[in-house]
């Protein structure tokens, strides 16, 4: 009897172990099933490269949204990546351990601040500032980039810090023995050794900014147009899905799922790159 119980447990656990993979496949299948036929119907190039988004009359070009997502993500990286990596280096190499042990968890704690709160701050503080000092409506590519750049800081710092602290101490000692200063040991030895982890942190942060929705809806302005200046309002792919979901039916709803397909594919590719970068480090 006992043996049977064990086999049963093993069977159940084996089935349960598929839950994450099954969920992933279910999500992929549903998003693609709803979105992919629509892309075929409208035509890939019309869907991806046409600039007119007007679901009421059957025009479904998401080009402005693709451009907007790329700009905003790129802008966020311009702000988040240097600050985050600088923070990680400083905390690891230039600050006494006890101080780092306080600051790192504080920053990781802040990773939990809900994205809507960041968005709200963007609306209340950042957008008026941009409107007054740089012109435009305030809600803009710039505002979204800054907010997203801040939001990804904990991700970049936390993963980069792990990568940098994984560099063996003998590397540092070797550099010092050759007469290198702290900074020389950092940029000549440590950054090279921790490179793949740092790159992974930045790519993961890119995926996060690309996928962020609520904060972006609040600060980006949501106008469907290819932006010409950083102070122009834009609508990203994620914002497009969230804004129109509530009242979209028929073709318009399918169009949103097709937007989801684009987002899904791009983010999976980014995460794949980040994962293989981190794996490469593990093997060494």
């Amino acid at each position: 009897m006992k043996v049977n119980g064990e086999t049963l447990v093993k069977g159940v656990l084996t089935a349960v172990a598929f839950s994450a993979l099954a969920s992933l496949l279910l999500i992929a299948v549903f998003i693609f099933k709803e979105g992919f036929p629509f892309m075929l119907k409208v035509g890939f190039s019309d869907f991806l490269f046409s600039s007119t988004w007007n679901p009421q009359v059957g025009q479904f070009g998401i080009f402005p949204m693709i451009v907007a997502s790329l700009y905003v993500t790129f802008g966020a990286m311009l702000i988040g990546a240097p600050l985050g990596v600088a923070g990680a280096i400083f905390l690891n190499e230039f600050v006494p351990r006890p101080v780092m042990r306080v600051i790192k968890p504080t920053i990781e704690l802040l990773a939990g601040i809900p994205s809507v709160v960041f968005g709200f701050l963007g609306v209340m503080v950042l957008a008026p500032f941009i409107r007054e000092h740089m012109g435009g409506p305030g809600l803009s590519v710039l505002a979204a980039s800054v907010i997203l750049g801040i939001m990804v800081l904990p991700t970049v710092i936390s993963i980069s810090t792990d990568a940098i602290s994984a560099v063996p101490n003998s590397y540092r000692e070797g550099a010092f023995a050759l007469g290198a200063t702290r900074w020389q040991s950092v940029h000549m030895v440590i950054l090279k050794a921790a490179r793949s982890g740092i790159i992974a942190s930045i790519i993961l942060a890119m995926g996060r900014s690309l996928g962020e929705t609520m904060a972006v809806i609040m600060v980006a302005g949501n106008t469907v147009r290819v932006p010409h200046a950083v102070t122009d309002p834009v609508r990203t792919l994620t914002a497009n899905i969230a804004l129109e979901m509530a009242n979209a039916t028929g073709m318009a709803r399918e169009a949103l799922f097709a937007t989801g397909v684009v987002l899904f594919v791009v983010i999976m590719i980014l995460n794949g790159i980040a994962m293989s970068a981190m794996k490469g480090r593990g093997k060494k």
Binding site: P114, M214, G260
Partner: protein
């Protein structure tokens, strides 16, 4: 001209230090700003009375209940699945192509943005399964979303249990499952709880995946098939539709405090766990 290494060293420390201080300052500013603007409006009355006028005045009681129930139900669904997966991966199998595929699936699931979960939850639970916007649809969606976190933290916690414990248990004639139940899981418990708390924190702060699956009704939910509005969603609607800035700030303050407390609990738990293990 070559700049002396001493000068570049000083320069580097200054720049890096300034960047770090800026980073910490910005993040701290976010919290302080919201608390300073919001806390003056928060009192018992605000927490425990019903909203009036779509939230223009009155309190946030139903959203507080929603914020409590939704993550709880999500965890109730995700924990057995996540923990079961972790136990299978660590105790019942070796590294094979299958486990690598399962882990890859978990990693991919972790990378999916929340709006995609919202989109999926809406079309699958709300529309296809005809459950409508309700507590259960929201909880199922959130459960899938936090599943990777629970699997990973549980797996790490279980792996940290020394093999000697298992060997002793086997030598006493215990079966694998008895060993898991009576030896492995109790010892891995703090790590597992950490993962659960982190998942609760993420669920509390989540908006995109919740608003399309659990809906945004301000009524008190009476069953799992009633629509609920969480604090995050309530705050989003108040802020975005400009219903009331005071109430938005106040809700944001309550929201931030809840999330920070939950994350702090997770962190303390994890720290104790690590301290105990390294002894």
């Amino acid at each position: 001209m070559r700049v002396s290494p001493k000068i570049t060293q000083v320069l580097a420390v200054t720049v890096l230090g300034a960047a770090t201080i800026l980073t910490v300052a910005v993040l701290v500013f976010v919290i302080v700003f919201v608390l300073v603007k919001g806390l003056p409006w928060v009192d018992w009355e605000f927490l425990f009375s019903y909203p009036q006028d779509m939230g223009k005045s009155g309190g946030i009681f139903p959203t507080l209940v929603g914020t409590f129930l939704l993550p709880l139900l999500a965890i109730a669904i995700a924990l057995p699945l996540g923990l079961g997966t972790a136990v299978y991966l660590t105790e019942y199998t070796r590294e094979t192509q299958l486990t690598r595929t399962l882990r890859f699936g978990t990693d991919c699931l972790a990378g999916i943005p929340s709006i995609i979960f919202g989109l999926f939850g809406f079309i699958f639970f709300v529309v296809k399964l005809k459950m409508g916007w309700c507590l259960l649809s929201g909880a199922l969606t959130l459960a899938i979303m936090v599943l990777p976190t629970i699997i990973r933290t549980s797996e790490e916690a279980i792996r940290a249990v020394p093999n000697a414990y298992r060997e002793v248990s086997f030598s006493l004639g215990a079966t694998r499952w008895e060993t898991v139940l009576k030896v492995v899981l109790p010892n891995a418990l703090p790590g597992i709880v950490t993962g659960v708390i982190l998942s609760i924190g993420r669920s509390i702060g989540e908006t995109a995946a919740v608003i399309f699956t659990a809906g945004s009704s301000l009524r008190m939910p009476m069953s799992v098939f009633d629509s609920v509005r969480t604090m995050s969603v309530h705050f989003y609607i108040l802020a975005r539709e400009g219903i009331s800035n005071e109430n938005a700030y106040a809700t944001a303050a309550v929201l931030i405090i809840s999330v920070l407390l939950v994350n702090l609990a997770a962190y303390t738990m994890m720290h104790r766990f690590i301290a105990k293990r390294s002894k």
